[in-house]
Symmetry: D2
Amino acid sequence: MSLFEKLKAANQKDWHDYTHHRFVEELGAGSLSEKAFRHYLVQDYLFLIHFSRAYALAIYKADSLEMMRSAKNNLSMIMDTEMELHVGFCAKWGISRDEMEKAQEDRPNMAYTRYVLERGMAGDLLDLLTALAPCVVGYGEIGKRLAAECNLDNNPYRSWVEEYASDGFQQATRTAIAQLDALAEEATPKRFERLARIFGDATRLEVGFWQMGLDAAR
Amino acid sequence: MSLFEKLKAANQKDWHDYTHHRFVEELGAGSLSEKAFRHYLVQDYLFLIHFSRAYALAIYKADSLEMMRSAKNNLSMIMDTEMELHVGFCAKWGISRDEMEKAQEDRPNMAYTRYVLERGMAGDLLDLLTALAPCVVGYGEIGKRLAAECNLDNNPYRSWVEEYASDGFQQATRTAIAQLDALAEEATPKRFERLARIFGDATRLEVGFWQMGLDAAR
Amino acid sequence: MSLFEKLKAANQKDWHDYTHHRFVEELGAGSLSEKAFRHYLVQDYLFLIHFSRAYALAIYKADSLEMMRSAKNNLSMIMDTEMELHVGFCAKWGISRDEMEKAQEDRPNMAYTRYVLERGMAGDLLDLLTALAPCVVGYGEIGKRLAAECNLDNNPYRSWVEEYASDGFQQATRTAIAQLDALAEEATPKRFERLARIFGDATRLEVGFWQMGLDAAR
Amino acid sequence: MSLFEKLKAANQKDWHDYTHHRFVEELGAGSLSEKAFRHYLVQDYLFLIHFSRAYALAIYKADSLEMMRSAKNNLSMIMDTEMELHVGFCAKWGISRDEMEKAQEDRPNMAYTRYVLERGMAGDLLDLLTALAPCVVGYGEIGKRLAAECNLDNNPYRSWVEEYASDGFQQATRTAIAQLDALAEEATPKRFERLARIFGDATRLEVGFWQMGLDAAR
């Protein structure tokens, strides 16, 4: 059982609340309000900026060249690929890069990104990767499930689902799991308690992120 | 005009939303639901832990022994005095120290404390003190105003108001303003933009903190 | 065997080079050049400033109120007690506080303090305490040994030796060892490798600190 | 006058000691001992690892996407290009990658890299870029001067000089100067004092780095 699986098992309810949030279910069903989705999209762009900073922090925190290079790949994937994909994706919804860069960060967005950055700074690389894991692996899990379970034919959010169900993104989740496992030897029982708390906190903050989308549409 | 006054002037609406939040007004009127207040009290204890960490960070960030000692005074005031006052205060409401230490941090609480810690780490001491200011000075301003405006005779929250209106706390707010002013020479127009954004973000996160109390009572 | 003892055992040669450095031996024999000692004293004052910052960082990094309070005690001991003792001690050697505060940090001094601060930031609390340990425990060990082995009757450095051999300082070393042991469960074999490297680096940098004194007198 | 020029002007003597160090002059004359150069080469590889970490920190510290991308370019240049060039260069001197990765960091090397990382963490991006500048710009200045002044025909260190005199590296120094200038508005008189101290410290630590090479050959 991978360290990731153990962390998930220690936070089952929160993990389910996150990966089966109403926002997610409505996304899969195609019934999500456009206003909720658009708010989410803009916030997600700002999120990616701070997620890039978190991987930069992982490079700084890494203890070996190998781990530095691995974190640098994550950084490049976000800054060179994902952010540009996001801009292209948003353009189709009529949201410009400029509009996103000028948008104000919503509080649940700030809550999650700053928690990851702060926990990662206060702890070591393993704490940081643990705080990052719910996002990467959770999105992969959500994308894969929705692609398998939902009829996406007339779903306006189809390309969102397909992006996270794609081979490329599924590979990224496997990398994140492997990065955690490379440090799993350090997860002694006492240390695991701390890691499980971080994982749980980050998962609850992801729940808040989805909820932010729904709240924006109320 | 102090740097603090300029920061406040640049964020007038957010500052008003924070210092005149419904939670605050109901506190002054004595009409706040006890459930909201109790949730706030427990979260505020957890808040003080991270606020202590923020002043520890200020010691680390300080560039002179004088500023280190000043931040150390803040740290001691919180860890040696305020937290014990808080425990005593909560005991009167039937909330034990143990209950508070085991409570789960609510997301808007995490949002504010982690923002302060993260911004303070990414920037320098001036950024950190700017992120801290809305809390210290805002509470002083709220306490003073409510003590002056409200009839506290039968207000169950009277001692809360009196604590923040007290000479001791008012002195602490003047110190926080003076700490900022000691670095005000560095607030060039461009730098001020960044500081005003930090101050505004922190103020909005304080709004979220009050709202968290009300939401808990819904 | 305490974690500290294990770390020392993994770095025996460096530990011996540090605790039996020529500077130390000459200090015990009373034959150390006054110029070397005076240079050391001034640099040690600047060292204490950064060591205070390192304990402030430990408060920020601590995961529990108990560990925060423990690190805060260290911080207070240095800033409120040791630094004032140092100023008083130096006054007897004709070195004023002002002279020390204006002195330029020597490179081996910077090397050690910045290493501790950087390693402590990149890693977690256990890494930080490991980087701090050689100083606190090493000085205690040196003071105790010199007090037992040397005839201090006409030794001009007698009060230096007695300070570090004193009950108060010996207690501080036991606290540092206990702080490490409180986290020893986390020292898995892989983690221990990293910790032993940190401990060894810090010890070698202490060797450089003594050598700095001798070099100043050449 | 660029901010860099002002910082240099405030540290003229240290800057001259660094850029005209005996190690540098002997490198240009081709008279440097091979032992000194080889020690320098191995340490410089370890240096690049921590310099990469410093640019990762700059990404984390950056306040705008533009500055993040700029720091990411620096990071990629070091990790993807310079380190590989270095490995190739060292291979010609019979030094393998493995030998470099296993080498122990020499104290003057640790002193400089950890100072940059620590100062950059305690301060903000401008402090970090100021601590980084002496390396990048100084090497460019040294390379250019030696290429112009020295007859490199039979100089065994010719390719070292040509690397730092090359258009590519000269462009990198201009970028570093421009990155500082982009933040120059923040360099108020008081702030400049702090920046000049950081620049001076970093420059003195570069002097120590050259001296480390000579000392290794004694």
